[in-house]
Symmetry: D2
Subunit: 365 residues, 4 copies
């Protein structure tokens, strides 16, 4: 199979670096276009990230030789698209919300599909917020989106905030199995890589935690309702439930968001054994279609009482699986558990790549 | 005022060290008797803790010269008591539950009041579990306890588990103000000093958190019901509410337990402003009587959105105050907030000393 | 004694905050003037540092009400000086070297003595680099400096880089006792507070160390030669020895720089016992004159084999003492040891205050 | 190629776990025998390590099903050896020195070669201390060792202390290239995994470093002399040089020992460029023979001024390469640099496996 040449916007930042590293040996996609801020533009990628590369894993050597383009200059990407070197882009742009929104639209208008990690378009009416295992069918709003804008091949699809990804798939699995979830109180212990680099100052993370992450709780409470919602007549209809209350904390962990979840079902209340069975057996389109980045087991249950732990469990399933532990009755709601996902892989670049695989599978790329 | 000479059992351990350090300049009490395991017995205190002393603050030099006694040998303490050198003891024993229970009873039987941090007697029917600001009146079960056992001057009074102390006083303040709390879901981020020394291995606390602390959640859910309960006819009657669900996590922090709390009131629901006013104005017997270890303001509210933080706030009010932040509506229950207390001071030795001050005030010491 | 009213430039930064906190109860000096960047100018100090205050210890309430001035506007300070509210300033400016140099000179020219933590003037020919216990006599170059510039009451005195302070006093003590030191190889493990706030990113300090601090090794190798030098005919003459080779590392510690030192004496080689005696008995002018910030014992030797440790030892002697451990023969040079000092107190604000006390004592303030 | 079945002694400990994980897909060796303390004996391996497994990487499933043997019972291993299931063993025993020495000899006497990480036999006259890239020829003392003891096929070969491995290969490379090194002053910043599990308490590693590791400095100063020595008439003759002075510190890093090295050459002093060329081009027997665990480039030079860093560089070359940075002139000796190696892979289990590959190559296994 000939690989699809594509690009990464914001390629020098933290999430951008993860895209570059994760795509190193991707069987379908090949990085041929990298763009970043004007400051990096014109440099070779390897020079632009020298001294800023944060990952143990390195990038494929050919990427290092690519000239970094100015992400603001859509015409460069459009030309690359015409040359067959940039069929679509991952957007890991780190700029203001309004600028991001406009720029992503400009790429789409230029015929370049944009698969984005940015939050700018999450509440745009015709933009799907995708977690491939949950709402893959939301992708089918894309033709409507293209029609709305008069776009030909371009479109925008986004992924949700990283922190909810540690528990949304388990919630969805329960709902899908016939056990609607009505209320969730969740406390997250989030890794510093979620704030990029330089991000969180070390003085805040030595002998300390910070009980606040700007905007995170609001996103955690609202985005799930769009993801779990319906598409009716080409319009998203948000789910009314579950009600979610989130407490988001920053802790001294490099990668891996942990969530302590208490949840209440509606009338149908599964036993703990049923819950575990639902999770262990959960498979969705990415598994059925065997997408390259899909974890074989998306939900891994650990029975030891002190797991999941970020350092030991975050890389499970190629860092794309969720690890769930401490499944037990809740003294106030019905059940409680602790869940973990790798925030820069499953929660960011890896999730974006899985979305691209889904969109390719569905014929939109 | 002549200081009351007293002793510390388990004086070489982590909590014992805190007792010794905190009592350095205490206006009422003076450490004249130290006991520990047979391994330390016979050594000078300063030699017994050499290489094991964990605190930045040091102990009063005279204590360093005391000979460490064997904590198992109650006759030594009884003799010291007769000599007027050990009017009562703080128990920071680190042994099995049954052994601790029996040994604390032996001290009480020998005429020596025991004010304990150990969990052994928390569910003994006639032993009060005291948080001085909440249930100081529970101390008045002591004559009944003495009568039950035929003890003369000895008795046992204990303090609850450290993790609940970050939020029980605020809960009590609301209840006292006429706003009963019915349900609480709380997630704690607990410091490693709570596990003593050597305690938690560093391999578990570098780039990691551990979502489990043995026995902690059970204690957190049950002990508040005794503390908030009534004494009727010389017997404790546990409160029926609030229902509590606790998720307890260990995080890489030396001192300071953080709690993320969502709570639901009964019919009476105060406004956020009322909640804050209740907390800011809260005073109880320790403040009214101006006990030496009582913080002037037991509940301190921080308005910055990223507080409380362990390193910056744990020493507030001489490490005896609770610092509360992020008071806001809960999307599922009524309100939510984050609270912090110093686990080895307010939550352990400092809380024990405050209990002793209460018991002295009430004439039991 | 009436306190001398004075000011802090750069009062909202990390070192500035330390000045404000340390001067809270100072018996000689009283903060009456605070200046910072134009961004903070006009705000009350308490508002300017809200959300940026890094210390557990707080500032004196009157300081919180002071209006922050623009540090670039020397005329404001000059007016305060005339009003008797700003007899001298501590400079904790965080700007470019050239700008700092010019601005500090402008304050001096306006009649305001400047006691600086900045590195800008360390190599200015007539500016003394003071460690009060070592080269207090270097202060006597001040009249010459004033004459050189035609300054009346103003002058500039600075302190050296924080990292050398962990071992320069012990080196000086040996030299003063008749044992010249010829060669030093030192590796430092430096705290993150040395880089200010936000400073070192947490991603660099979780499960990691960084073997580099820009400019630190050069300063560590050169500044001691000025400090240990002579003043001849009103001009500094740098010492030729010791030759120093420094390896400077950043480690995940909030406060407290540790130095592992191997040193070689000249012909006169003291025994280990002599070395320890020299250090234990070392006293200098600050101790003899009992300056308020002078530690009674400037050099504290710990005999345990695993000390000094930053968290346990940095606050020794009011965070102004050096703690030395592991004094032992060196397998290559003569002796080796590990030394620790609190970098934001002894190594920054506390050291500056001690210098001010020295300059007051000598009549320059 | 049929894999050689072999065993691991101390298989449940930290180093033992690394052996099991690293041998998962080894092309030459296959774990068929696991032994540990009597406490684990009789359990399946997966049950014996449940709740104690420290690594992100897991073991091969067949190993999980092996029954753990009692390491003290050599007859079990001898029987397995006869059945063709235990051709040799890796020893990661964690017991007293004398017991280890005796037990390793008993295995050798039973015909089972022992490749050990333990320090017990490092100073035994006829036991080679191997770093495969440096002194592979020392392996040829094995026939003499076997003759000394009247052993048939069994023998003992060991590896040195982990901390020296970060800089011994570069030192050897320089010596081999004709630039003898006379003096070394080195300070190490060592990872906590070097102390096993539970090992270093977290209270010592939060906001702290510990400037001491028992026995480490002595080993660091002496073991290199045996490794760099000659074999003359079947007897090791230790090298006289280099003189080494080591300062060993424990820092809050999971894996990866960092060393800050200053060194002095003898008369022949290479330029910095020559030094780097020697290191970059260095290859030895493991590379020439392409041993499975040999890194293609054993010495990797990073030119960025802030590398090597443990988290980013420890996995270089399959965690078997050394990463060297900051190569620069020394202000006291000739050159200085910072070097890093993965202490539980290159410095422990991986180094042991490479030694086994060497011994297989030489026909001793």
């Amino acid at each position: 199979m000939v690989k699809i040449p594509m690009g990464v916007l914001g390629a020098t930042g933290m999430v951008g670096q993860n895209y570059i590293a994760l795509l190193k040996n991707h069987p379908w996609f090949e990085v041929r276009y990298v763009a970043a801020s004007p400051r990096s533009a014109g440099k070779k990628y390897k020079d632009a990230v020298a001294g800023r590369w944060q990952l143990a894993d390195n990038y494929a050597p050919p990427v290092g030789e690519l000239a970094v383009e100015d992400a603001n200059d859509v015409s460069r990407a459009a030309a690359a698209n015409k040359r067959g070197e940039c069929a679509f882009v991952f957007s890991a742009l780190e700029m203001g919300k309004d600028e991001t929104r406009a720029l992503e639209e400009a790429y789409a208008a230029a015929g370049i599909p944009v698969i984005s990690n940015a939050s700018a378009h999450r509440w745009t009416a015709d933009v799907p917020v995708l977690i491939a295992e949950i709402n893959h069918h939301h992708a089918d709003i894309i033709p409507r989106q293209q029609k709305n804008h008069g776009w030909d091949r371009g479109f925008i699809a986004v992924k949700p905030n990283c922190s909810i990804q540690s528990y949304m798939i388990p919630i969805h699995a329960l709902i899908r199995a016939g056990y609607p979830v009505e209320r969730i109180i969740v406390t997250t212990l989030q890794a510093v890589s979620g704030a990029g680099y330089p991000g969180v100052p070390s003085l805040d993370m030595i002998d300390n935690i910070v009980p606040y992450i700007g905007g995170e709780e609001e996103k955690s409470e609202k985005e799930p309702l769009k993801i779990l919602g319906l598409v009716r007549d080409g319009v998203f209809e948000n789910a009314a439930l579950p009600k979610i209350s989130a407490h988001c904390n920053r802790v001294p962990v490099t990668d891996g968001h942990t969530a302590c979840v208490s949840l209440e079902f509606g009338r149908e209340k599964p036993s703990l054994e049923t819950v575990k069975k639902i999770w262990t057996e959960f498979r969705s389109l990415p598994q059925e279609m065997n997408f390259p980045s899909a974890p074989a087991e998306p939900l891994i249950i650990r029975e030891e009482n002190d797991r999941p732990q970020p350092r030991k469990d975050r890389d499970s399933g190629g860092a794309m699986a969720l690890v769930i532990g401490r499944v037990r009755p809740c003294n106030v709601f019905d059940i409680r558990f602790t869940a973990l996902s790798h925030n820069t892989v499953r929660g960011a670049a890896g999730g974006g790549i899985l979305n691209a695989e889904l969109l390719k599978h569905k014929g939109y790329l």
